[in-house]
C-alpha cells in the first residue's frame, strides 16, 4: 500500500468485487418472494377458420385477456415478459404450442391489465388438424431481473375448443 496509484487500484478492485457480491445477494433475495398471479382468457369470437392453399389450417380469433401479475415484481425486477400460447395435441405431435399474443410489462403499476384484442400472431397448424380440436390457453411469463437469475412460470387454462367446420 505504498503509493497513491497502488492504494487507488486496491480500493477500486475491492469495491467492484463487493458490488458483485451485493448483486448476487440481490438476486438471491428474489427467492423469498412467493408470487400469486391470476389470469383469465375469454374467446369472444372466431373471426375466420380456413384451410390455407398450402395445406395448413389457420384460425383468427378475438379474445379478452385479463391478468394480475403484480405479485411477481420485486425490488430486483426490471420487466416481465408475458405471452399467451395455445397448446394442443395432434396425432403427429404430442405438444403443439402456438404463441398468440405477447407483451412487456415494465412496472408493477401496469401488471394488472385487461385487453381486448385479436391474436397478434397467426394461429397456424402444421397440417389440417384444427377442426374440433380441444386446446389450452397457457399464459407464460419471464420475470427479468436487474441482476441475476430469471424466473419463468405459467398458468394453464383449459376448456377451449375450435369449431368442427371451416368458416
Amino acid at each position: 500500500m505504498h503509493s497513491f496509484g497502488y492504494r487507488a487500484n486496491a480500493l477500486l478492485t475491492f469495491a467492484i468485487t463487493i458490488l458483485a457480491v451485493m448483486c448476487a445477494f440481490a438476486s438471491l433475495s428474489d427467492n423469498f418472494n412467493s408470487p400469486s398471479p391470476t389470469s383469465q382468457v375469454q374467446v369472444l369470437n372466431i373471426n375466420w377458420f380456413r384451410n390455407k392453399p398450402d395445406g395448413d389450417d389457420e384460425v383468427s380469433m378475438t379474445m379478452n385477456i385479463s391478468a394480475d401479475l403484480q405479485s411477481l415484481f420485486t425490488w430486483n425486477t426490471k420487466q416481465v415478459f408475458v405471452f399467451l400460447a395455445a397448446e394442443y395435441k395432434t396425432r403427429k405431435n404430442s405438444l403443439n404450442q402456438v404463441s398468440l399474443w405477447d407483451g412487456i410489462i415494465p412496472a408493477k403499476e401496469h401488471a394488472k391489465f385487461y385487453i381486448h384484442t385479436t391474436n397478434k400472431y397467426r394461429f397456424v397448424d402444421q397440417g389440417s388438424n384444427l377442426r374440433e380440436r380441444d386446446f389450452n390457453m397457457t399464459l407464460h411469463w419471464h420475470v427479468m431481473p436487474k441482476t441475476g437469475k430469471m424466473f419463468a412460470d405459467k398458468i394453464v387454462m383449459t376448456g377451449y375448443r375450435l369449431p368442427e367446420a371451416y368458416r
Partner: protein, 137 residues
C-alpha cells in the same frame, strides 16, 4: 479547501514518482518542490499508516455495502442501493488514498548524516587493479 487539495495533489505526485512515470516526474517535479517549501507536507505514509489505511478501506467498504444493501432492500429501490454504495466508495477513497497526517504518526527514523560518517563503508579491493600492472610490460 486548498489544503485538502494540496494533500491529494502531494500524494498523487508521490505516487507518480514511485510508479516511475518519468513524464510525470519531469512535468510536476517543480510543483512538488514548491509545495514542499510552502507547506512542509509529509510526502509519504509510514508502515503503520499504510496498514491503518488498508484496514480503514476494507472495513469502510464492507460496512457501507451492508448498509446500502439493507437500505435498498427495505425501501425496494435497487438504484438507491447503488447510489449509496457509489457515494461511499468515493468517501472511502477521500479518506484512505491521500497521505493524511494520521497515517504518518510513526515516521521512519533515518540515520543522521553525521552519525553515518563515523562508520564509513568498507572499501572494495578490486582484483582488476592488480591485474593491469603485469600486462603493461
Amino acid at each position: 479547501m486548498s489544503w485538502i487539495l494540496s494533500y491529494v495533489l502531494s500524494s498523487f505526485l508521490d505516487g507518480c514518482l514511485n510508479d516511475m512515470h518519468f513524464w510525470c516526474l519531469f512535468v510536476l517535479s517543480c510543483d512538488r518542490f514548491v509545495l514542499l517549501r510552502k507547506t512542509n507536507l509529509p510526502l509519504r505514509m509510514d508502515w503503520e499508516g499504510q496498514k491503518l489505511a488498508e484496514q480503514w478501506m476494507q472495513i469502510m467498504l464492507v460496512v457501507f455495502a451492508i448498509g446500502a444493501f439493507i437500505t435498498g432492500f427495505f425501501i425496494s429501490s435497487f438504484s438507491l442501493m447503488v447510489y449509496i454504495y457509489g457515494g461511499s466508495v468515493i468517501l472511502t477513497g477521500l479518506l484512505t488514498i491521500p497521505n493524511w497526517p494520521i497515517f504518518n504518526r510513526h515516521p521512519l527514523k533515518w540515520l543522521d548524516p553525521s552519525e553515518a560518517e563515523k562508520h564509513p563503508k568498507p572499501q572494495l579491493t578490486t582484483s582488476s587493479v592488480s591485474k593491469k600492472k603485469p600486462t603493461k610490460k
